[in-house]
Symmetry: D2
Subunit: 430 residues, 4 copies
Amino acid sequence: MTQPMREWFGEKERLRCWLGIYASLAAAQADLGLVPRAAAERIAETALTGEIDLVEVAATTVRTGHSTAGLVAWLQSEVGAAAAPYVGLGATVQDISDTWTALTLRRTGELAGQDLIALLQLLRQLTERYRATPMAARTHGQVGVPITVGFKAAGWAAECERHLDRFAEGRERWEVAPLGGSVGSIAYWGTQGPDLLDAFAARTGLGAPVLPWGCARDAVAEFACWAQLTATLLGRIGNEVYQLQRTEIGELTEAVAPGQISSVTMPHKRNPELAEHLVTLRRLVSASAGLLIDGALVEHERDGRMWKAEWVALPDLCSALTRATRACVDLVRGLQVQEHRMARNLAAAATTSEQVVTALAGRLGRDQAFAAVRTAIDRAGPGGAWMAELADDPRIADTDLMSTADLVDHDAIASAVAFADRWLRGGTQW
Amino acid sequence: MTQPMREWFGEKERLRCWLGIYASLAAAQADLGLVPRAAAERIAETALTGEIDLVEVAATTVRTGHSTAGLVAWLQSEVGAAAAPYVGLGATVQDISDTWTALTLRRTGELAGQDLIALLQLLRQLTERYRATPMAARTHGQVGVPITVGFKAAGWAAECERHLDRFAEGRERWEVAPLGGSVGSIAYWGTQGPDLLDAFAARTGLGAPVLPWGCARDAVAEFACWAQLTATLLGRIGNEVYQLQRTEIGELTEAVAPGQISSVTMPHKRNPELAEHLVTLRRLVSASAGLLIDGALVEHERDGRMWKAEWVALPDLCSALTRATRACVDLVRGLQVQEHRMARNLAAAATTSEQVVTALAGRLGRDQAFAAVRTAIDRAGPGGAWMAELADDPRIADTDLMSTADLVDHDAIASAVAFADRWLRGGTQW
Amino acid sequence: MTQPMREWFGEKERLRCWLGIYASLAAAQADLGLVPRAAAERIAETALTGEIDLVEVAATTVRTGHSTAGLVAWLQSEVGAAAAPYVGLGATVQDISDTWTALTLRRTGELAGQDLIALLQLLRQLTERYRATPMAARTHGQVGVPITVGFKAAGWAAECERHLDRFAEGRERWEVAPLGGSVGSIAYWGTQGPDLLDAFAARTGLGAPVLPWGCARDAVAEFACWAQLTATLLGRIGNEVYQLQRTEIGELTEAVAPGQISSVTMPHKRNPELAEHLVTLRRLVSASAGLLIDGALVEHERDGRMWKAEWVALPDLCSALTRATRACVDLVRGLQVQEHRMARNLAAAATTSEQVVTALAGRLGRDQAFAAVRTAIDRAGPGGAWMAELADDPRIADTDLMSTADLVDHDAIASAVAFADRWLRGGTQW
Amino acid sequence: MTQPMREWFGEKERLRCWLGIYASLAAAQADLGLVPRAAAERIAETALTGEIDLVEVAATTVRTGHSTAGLVAWLQSEVGAAAAPYVGLGATVQDISDTWTALTLRRTGELAGQDLIALLQLLRQLTERYRATPMAARTHGQVGVPITVGFKAAGWAAECERHLDRFAEGRERWEVAPLGGSVGSIAYWGTQGPDLLDAFAARTGLGAPVLPWGCARDAVAEFACWAQLTATLLGRIGNEVYQLQRTEIGELTEAVAPGQISSVTMPHKRNPELAEHLVTLRRLVSASAGLLIDGALVEHERDGRMWKAEWVALPDLCSALTRATRACVDLVRGLQVQEHRMARNLAAAATTSEQVVTALAGRLGRDQAFAAVRTAIDRAGPGGAWMAELADDPRIADTDLMSTADLVDHDAIASAVAFADRWLRGGTQW
């Protein structure tokens, strides 16, 4: 877990946040004249600065089996008899925990968003620097025609931008105040329910929804979807580095921190630590996201079977997501592009075969050309000198075909460069 | 599967769609002067009207183990020698299947979107008609204070609107043309790759992305997320009806089609068919969505392990989603609101207990009031006459407390009505 | 988390367990004469009783980024120079963590198994006591013909037995010693690898597999499957109680602990706490199980992307599973069977409709009989006096049909009782 | 889908199977004297040989919305008035579909089991032939010390055996007759319910459970678990080949079928078709398994929301599983072991680094030895001549250390061979 998330989910900061929600609620009620202003101020003051007795709060929680009874009892005793009746008036546990959920989504989005913007900048630099550095494209695990490092980086960057776009759209829906009272209609406050919802939203700095969340968990589920989509990109980048760092490929390598040990016994090992973590974290995000999305199939106005899993799954998801965004920034910042390995791997594979067939097809016909090239490659074996084998082919040996000027097209990466440039030119709002 | 989807995924329409993509590709290449206009027109004509030899196409597909080889061979032989070399020039299987995927997302969105708009209208009518019809809210499966039918319907409607909003935002990202060639960079066409992508997009009526999709499957994954979120609302509505149609509750009931048999042996059975289907379909959508979202963790420039599961999961997802949107429209259109059962269920539960405690608290103090009411309810048992028991409580028996004018607040549903009205006033862009 | 699991997963007990594994390893090597016996004994002594410096261990772990480097360094310095070279000789991190995993599976199985046996006994008592107590069966949420409480309990019990059978079979595969060394072949010890594996297994009290686990994670995945299947039964029991405790049904109710608050405002609420938890816990087990099962798709001889998620998912799964087994024991132990509600709910539904049709069919013909009954039920409405309506039916009114002796079969629950008795007679090995 | 599965799930064979179940039911009832023997024989004869009118059956099914009404109507009209009343007496849809499910599990297990036994034999041959053929082990994607091809194959084989063991244990639980009638208690037949269950089981050749399945779906869920575990091994083998067939590694390669095209444009491509399919199929199995396992959380005595998803998920799972078992047999049968690539890849990596450190440590001390080797490897770069660099190290240059006889241990694979032999010696019951 990153440090800011560790703090956010720590018991102390969480209880303080809950107290702040009680303060916002009382303030909003005072704004509408429903409770005395002095009581609201007294609650706010205590919520902000009171010394919480964690042991007593925990004891009451266990004794009553009720999630907020302990905290409320403490707060009521601290604010004194005059203000005590105005603590959480008309509110239920879900009001507190859902508002905390909305604030958690906001905080997590803030942290992940910052990292994604940093990642985008690093990917832009990578694209610019290596826009025309050839490397093998690979399909089905096999080396194909070349692309460029910058083209690959631009693909990551463009997707990263789309996740930022999704974030900007989605947060309008999930950074909202979910006050609902006992059954989601703020029944306690009668016709003033809607106004109270707006006032509470203003006090918490969250948006005001048309209706309370209640049993509509699509905001939480949408956030989970976004987290999962985003983590999948991060996992994809991690997996790509893991694979390209293979001993036999060695095209992209992670920076190694001083003192870091890959293996206590084998000095030659260089394990892709962050790269692997990104895939692992993606899997963790995905499992938690599944819980949150399925959890939106709520029955009636409140459904503990669905809702309470959020209390576990949401912190897990937020922790794993922000750890992944941070790890990906670190990975890309230290990423080493091994150009000589890229060149060697390209050279070893018959990646120009398509172009050679095209060049020969004019005189031999396409079928003969294809057959000649395939035979030469088979004879040479992996990494072998197949162009020499081709020159020996009886169909070619006594001709000038091998010297044909257009036999090898040196511009195989032209389109990859063009696309990388197109993305660079496009600019970004991020 | 609904009829339009059955047609869309039928072999005939799918092959016709693939041919249309070859036609769009040739047309786009002609637009840029890359292939002769006459060849492109010949290809378009054949693609549109040619009689496809399904048996031969299938045979070649099996023989070569290659997904488009059969269709291309047929098309090339049909268009004649002059146009044949311009069929699918520089394109690979993924270009055809991914463009078909984008068109499938568009078609599915069209069908689901229409249903969702119809559903929204039905839910609006439900909200209007029953905005002030009291029914029990239920939390943790227990009857709580009342809400109104319209409040519940407004909750569904507001979420439905949000799914339509998500759809409008997301389709900009997924209804785009994914041309990429052998490795995703349109390598065959060199520097003209980007222009060809734009021309192809124009010809297919899809948007033009900055870069080809290639290994970035976030568009497909986002669609899957949207489908899953949307299906979860539909499943939630279905589950709500399933539960509220229980014999012992009977508040909402499905329309029964003439001739429909719930049970061949038990004449009293009225099973919630559509309601159950909606939950089942939600589960199917979710399983397919999981495959599509996980499938975005692609390795390198093309990854059959991930990509080919789309060929199964996407049709499954689209079929289940559109069947669910249609079923939900049918369910809500025929939904019967059993007001007398709602009233009876409310009356049988001690739903006014909170208000009675409040009324008594002024004289007895809150703790005594709470204890008196709880004791009365326990004595009366489920559905029993607890108010009579309360009247006998020694703390109350010889007082005028029971006649207190404010004992029962007849405005318990005021906030629910206010929220239903607020949503109705809000209007919608849909 | 239950207390025994909290301890097991606590840092202190975990490190002690890891140290014990180092001791077992050295002892096994001494058994084969590979290391001096004195060194092995020194290591065992320190591992068992040494005061671990948690702060220093943690610091080294962070500095090296290596999971066991800190602990090994501490252990080596404690045992002194003579024994230090024999600490973890030829072992790698995975040997320690996988052995701990196997021990965790054993410990978790022990705890869960005890609970399941207790649950089975409680269910047997429930079956015996209520073998002939009628209650409504429900299909598609609708009341059908009666079964008995004992029949329902026997169904849970029989499934519980099958999970215990699966456990007994599976533990032979997962409670085994997974020593494998750097790449899973115990390469360090050459031809003595297999013997060392056996000796190590003997020292840890785990079984000896033919080959080290290495990248074959099917043991962990099978345990996850078992946990998921078992948790699903627990969740099914919980859900059944949640539904049958509904205000309108009230047939099964949870015991309420003294002092427990369901709602701070509504004194009439009795929420099914444990019942809901069981469904929630099932969902948590399922999410972790998914991670562990998918995690068996390992690449090569060690794959951090898959393996390290076990470090999170396994403790989560074990904690949730044992909390669920315990909660289910508590739920069933306190379960209250409300026979009067069962009788009332049966009476209110037309559950004898099938039998009445059969009785009338002899004279009226089956179609007329079915129609007459359906009409009567429709007229009476839910819970209405449909038999009176039937008596008024013109086809029946002036006949003696209603008095037919066989009209109502009082033995509707005969088969349910017979099956409950059959299960009770069957006995169990558990 | 493989041919046997295509037939099994084809409409014709499915309806025939359903008819056979009606025949078994009538026969069992005749065995107990509940229905006339002649009627049962007439039903059996028609079920076995009658010409099914598929169009009419489908039409009735659609009209009634009832899954078996069409087939039953056809069967009743075919058997004539005397036998008609005895068609499916006391049975409900679930009896037919669940029995078909049990038979499907048996059929699928039969097909998959045969393939797994064939796979096991092929893996045994692979183990025998290549028991001592060195290849690199890989951890975290990095080349480590050597293992042997046979060791890897033995790891697959041993896991394959365990899946066969699980199958043998599980089928006792899932190949059972699930007759339950309207609510799972065979209520129609009263006290004869248990005997009828046994007689029906005898007639279908399935086992007789203590209680009908009813809402206990753990048999189906356990099968799904088994399928998922098994498919994960198949996917793991596929993924291993996919990775080791990489152009840059080339150690294991799939056989290429004559006429098979990997790429229409690039003659050098050799895609790992079956290997990729195995991973894809594993993912499909897993998604369906998730549906079936979650589907065991059934409410009450029948729950369409859970149960009906089986009708989609089970055929999908069985099809994907058997396609995977068959594909894996084909893959392993044609697998080509490229020994020269294995040798070259081993030679290029510094896999003896651990042994060299050990050899130098005696004179230099372990820390100096480790540092010298790491420095040499870093200087040489990937695939470089690090032993030459080491010889130049000032700590070594003027010594005879490099010539130390024990510097290179030629028996690095000794333990791998020993384990492969141990598995081969172990024999198998399969």
